[in-house]
Symmetry: C5
Subunit: 348 residues, 5 copies
């Protein structure tokens, strides 16, 4: 997992210098403009920075492809965004955060995708200003599409509210998508935990250990979500209306639930690893018992056979008629005694 | 354990959309109306939303079956509950919480049931408003019945108080039921801990590990109880009278005791798992000792027998008269020496 | 250990209902009245609730036997104690706490006794009001007797002070008794820790693990002591004089020292368990080494003996004159080589 | 690693006594003077303390070689630095800190270098006063050179700002260099983690354990960074302008990210060690299985061969025609049975 | 280690009763009076309590031997020290603390000595009043002698300051001596950590475990140092001048560094114990491999030898000419195959 790649591309540069730190891409970035209020809804795909016009409706400027530094700069110039904001937008290793600037609120989030025991983070930066929301995406993200659909639907609550509610709706959609991912992780965890008891093989161990590492990164990543929700809830801010505050409380609640769930899964995954180690120790014990039972029964009787395989000239027993039968009786008695001994120890 | 099932049924929906996330049920929900003051007590089973009439007594509207979304909506409309409250009422994965709305206080709790090393959570949401308490239950819950019985009894303190005391009484009954569950868990824990020392088999291990997982979930679930009790104790609120505050302090105390006990049980269960591992290591040690004693005694003497089983033409000892007896004497000496050696090591 | 028995006797009862949750007893409870000031000292054993008369001296009403609910109620009526106070007095699983009521301060403590690696808790509730102290004891407790003796002694500081100093003296005596118990635990811990190195047998392991469990409960139990000492130190309260405050600071100090010591012992006991596991692993290692040395030396030479025990018609060596001696030489060489090999590995 | 050498050279000396605690060096320290504003830029290598002249531009006095106590004293006298500041400058074991003096802010940082699984810390102390920044370096450090290059570039933002922005730029460059180091550690960690699964040999273990120790020291060292960033962000201070504050928030953000990353790596390295132990236990299990399979198959059949190697006069089977074949059949059956048994246990 | 001996000598006594809890001694305690200001310096060994005369210089009354209760009382009477102060002075198990009394500040510290993996604590209590410092020592302590030497030196800063600076100088000297001890512990830790890798024998294990226990006690003991430094830094107090405050900040810094270092060493010692366990597991693995290699090679070929040692009348191979050679060829092939198998598993 390369969670921290390309960090050093920035070394030695001035703060506010734009350096895209994600995967290289050839394509250009695109802008999608959505303008709506209670009555109207217009949408423009593949818009350019020049198409952005001030108006009194809610304007959602959705920029897909933060690797396109020219595009980012063009839009940022339009809204006079601070150099540090621009830097954060394109720096894909950015920590989740929210900051208040005089003319806008800036927040950085991550959408997460979970495939094959690996979590991928995609950065989503959002700027909330007077009458507009700008979203900067690494690539198109499913969870934001749901919000778009709710806006398209004329009767949704979202159409009656302003851009602060849209900000809430976007963050809420991202947090909701965390639940989906956590549910999948939870299912994998449970499946692995079950399978460990069935067969504690190394393959299961590597999977569970991979999950543990991913949860370590997930926890680190989503931890600051709490600060973001708290900021929106507690801070006095001209951009957030009282009406939206009630919903923000709900968002805060969900945020804490997400963090709690991550912590709980970390506990569970640690428990699974402990179980794995206990199961391995148990198996070892069983292996040792089998070895000990077989050895302890056969080594003494093999010794007896060895004794009468000796070639001494004077071994009176060799000549006796019933000594062969006698040896067999002794052997059977030893075996029976051993079996009883292991029964008493509950090994058999 | 499916603690998080159906979370994704909500993905893409607007906040405040009602989605029941618990087990599907066919039956309709029911309403039970209880109205009382110091002198009167009336009860109406299977009431409908229309039966709810404003009055100056304490009205307890008990709704059983939160899967019945129509019923929830009908009652919620009557009391003008916020969309987010309705959403939380039917969302069975809701985190425990308490929130203050202008006309009411809303709190979400869980009753717990413990059977066969598994804890089941049932959601209980309570709305406290002027002259009324609404309880939304997943299904009928024993602990609330005790409160009903105390109301029926004309001489109980509860009849002399208002709806804020009823809220306290309901929460107190739920918290008290946690003690019962924790006591059962404590008994199981002690029994398992004892049995581990007797026989550290895998069955006991799986049981104790199941308990650990349940305690992890229990801890996560009841942790916010502290906030709820603290909210009722500290917050200035028109709904809570001074007289009830004294009792709320007691509730806070019980809440902390429940959380403490859960933490203590988590410590104990971790201790039991450590004990299990130590016992397994000890058993392994014992197995190894038996193997080593038998091998170390018989391998050397078997070698001696092997030597005199060789068929060389020129082995002078074979012809000697006393060599067979001599070999036996050597063997006995070796065995005695070995036994003394193991005695000295306290293995025998 | 039954730290939580009978908790469910309370389920379904109204708050403030008196239910004794300790061990059943047949005997009646007793009251001992002590009245003193700088000059006078009177003591009345086996007093009844009626003997309690208001006066301006310090009155210590010592009630022994909280299972006697009638007695508790009689005394509580006399001082108009709140129903929740009465409930807490007789509920032996009560968490340590301190609460301020309009006319009195109520605090619940535990005396501890340590015998044979087990800690027993006995509940002590104290009510401090104007001119009186009521102590409710599960049974007579040695540490409070020391305070009584200091009162009897006319020249003690305690005779010159009021009831707030008596409260301090009682709590201080209880906290001091914790040091005695912790010292005993510390001695046991050290003895066990030493003995584990000598012989890491299961008996020592069970003892140390028992100590760990007891320390877990002890820690949970005495943790709220800090809040009690802090309450007395920080809270403005008409019952605590400035003069006594200085002593309360000292009490707070002792309290923290007790908690620190418990934490330290928990660390030490965890260290002892780790040591035990390391010692067991070491012993296993030694066992394995002996087995490996014996097997590795004798298995190859037994094979050689086996070879020449074969009955092939054409085995030229069998007929050679020096081959028997030759085989012995080879065997000795193998043994010497093996011994050198193990020497090099520092196994011998 | 000698992270704490020479600490005792100070014992018994008065506070404020200058004692250099780093590696001894023969060379003299050097001063580099940089003076700039929006329009001018002058640089003077190998300056002396006398060359420092007050002016209204930004003056960066860069002192390399804190072992040269005379030089430190000469410069400190010029700016009237407090004895404790001078002591801290030359004491290379100094904890990271920031302190506000009447005429200047003093901060101590460390640059880090990572080579061959070891982290080296070099101390950097910075004094920010009116129109000047003094940097005291143990030796020349790459990350500060980047800042110098940005100053040289006439068009950089840094040239338009004052000395408070330079302080920010210096600290930011140091924090950025931490990311580079952490990235290298992250790569090593991942490589080691992979290699452990391939071959859990002791060499890998010692490397990972070395990394763990280094991360322990790194965490201890950079932990106070948070306080430094917080101090610059929160404290009212005449030296820090509003304009720079925005950048300080960004610095605070990076600081927390560095600390988070260190914590995450500590978690990962702990996970790697757990993996190592699990892999070792697994390998042991596999070794035991092979031993058990071979022993359990061959020991019984060797016994049978032993039986018919006995030399009794009366062993009827020996004379039978088909008994040799019969013995082989029995042996084959035993082997087949054993193989089936191990198949069932999934050992083969 | 007897860190808690004699605690019970106090049980049942009134607070403020003087009980010496350290090692019994026969000798009498001694007083050393030092009086100084910028110009004068007088010193009087073996002074008596009567020699203490009020004056306007700084008076350092150094009492050595807190077991001499008469002496303690005589000096305490002179300065009217509170009974609890006296009790704390002679109670050697006292927790580190600082307390503000109307006429003086009272603080209790410990000097530490480290010998042969054991830390010894000696109590030092200091009273700072108007124009005087009283130090109560268990026995003469080196670190305070350094302060005395600095006072003797006419040109030291200490001679120009008042008693508050002396208090700072004394505490600073004690904290500095902690660094020396921690450095020694760090050296021992590193040496042990290295030696564990060389030979993980029980002796090294007991030493490292001893260090762990000592660090547990050390951490518990010095933890409150933070509060003491913080008290001096933050609290408004007539005894501490502004001028000294600057130095107190430095002391606070050192204090945190000492605590950090202790924590770091605890982490390192825990890491060493983990290493020890890993090394032991590795060694076990190696032992098992040797046993398995030898057994797995020789057990099958011994079986073959056993087969042809059977005495059946009809064993056609026995008579064949080349069968003896054939058996040897089979044996060599088996051995080669096994060696290849172990090579593939990288065991050889």
């Amino acid at each position: 997992m390369k969670h921290h790649k390309h960090a050093n591309r920035k070394i030695g540069l001035a703060p506010g210098t734009l350096v895209y730190t994600g995967t290289e891409k050839d394509s250009k970035g695109t802008i999608r403009l959505i303008e709506y209020n209670k009555d109207i809804y217009t949408e423009k795909e593949n818009a350019s920075a020049k198409d952005i016009q001030p108006n009194n409706n809610v304007n959602w400027i959705n920029i897909i492809g933060i690797h396109d530094l020219d595009l980012i700069n063009a839009v940022s110039d339009k809204f006079e965004l601070h150099p540090l904001v621009r830097e954060d937008v394109v720096s894909t290793n950015q920590r989740l955060k929210i900051e208040s600037y005089p003319d806008y609120i800036f927040t950085t989030l991550k959408s997460i995708e979970y495939n094959d025991k690996r979590i991928d983070f995609k950065q989503i930066s959002i700027v909330l200003g007077k009458n507009y929301i700008i979203t900067f995406l690494e690539e198109e993200t499913e969870c934001l599409e749901y919000v778009k659909k709710r806006i398209e639907n004329k009767n949704g609550r979202i159409r009656e509210r302003k851009e602060d509610y849209l900000l809430y709706a976007l963050i809420d959609a991202i947090v909701d998508s965390y639940f989906v991912t956590l549910e999948k992780i939870g299912d994998d965890l449970e499946a692995l935990d079950e399978s460990i008891i069935q067969e504690a093989n190394e393959d299961n161990f590597y999977k569970i250990r991979q999950l543990k590492k991913e949860l370590t990164f997930l926890r680190k990543t989503i931890w600051p979500l709490r600060e973001i929700a708290n900021f929106l809830d507690k801070e006095e801010h001209k951009f957030i209306t009282e009406q939206t505050k009630m919903f923000v409380k709900d968002l805060y609640d969900h945020t804490i639930q997400v963090i709690d769930l991550t912590e709980t899964y970390r506990d569970l995954v640690a428990g699974s690893i402990d179980t794995y180690n206990s199961v391995v120790a148990n198996r070892m014990n069983e292996v040792m018992k089998i070895l000990t039972i077989i050895s302890t029964i056969f080594i003494p009787i093999t010794f007896i056979a060895g004794i009468y395989g000796m070639n001494f000239a004077h071994m009176p027993e060799l000549a006796w008629k019933w000594s062969y039968l006698g040896v067999w009786i002794i052997i059977v008695l030893i075996v029976l005694f051993m079996i009883r001994f292991f029964r008493k120890k509950s090994w058999l």
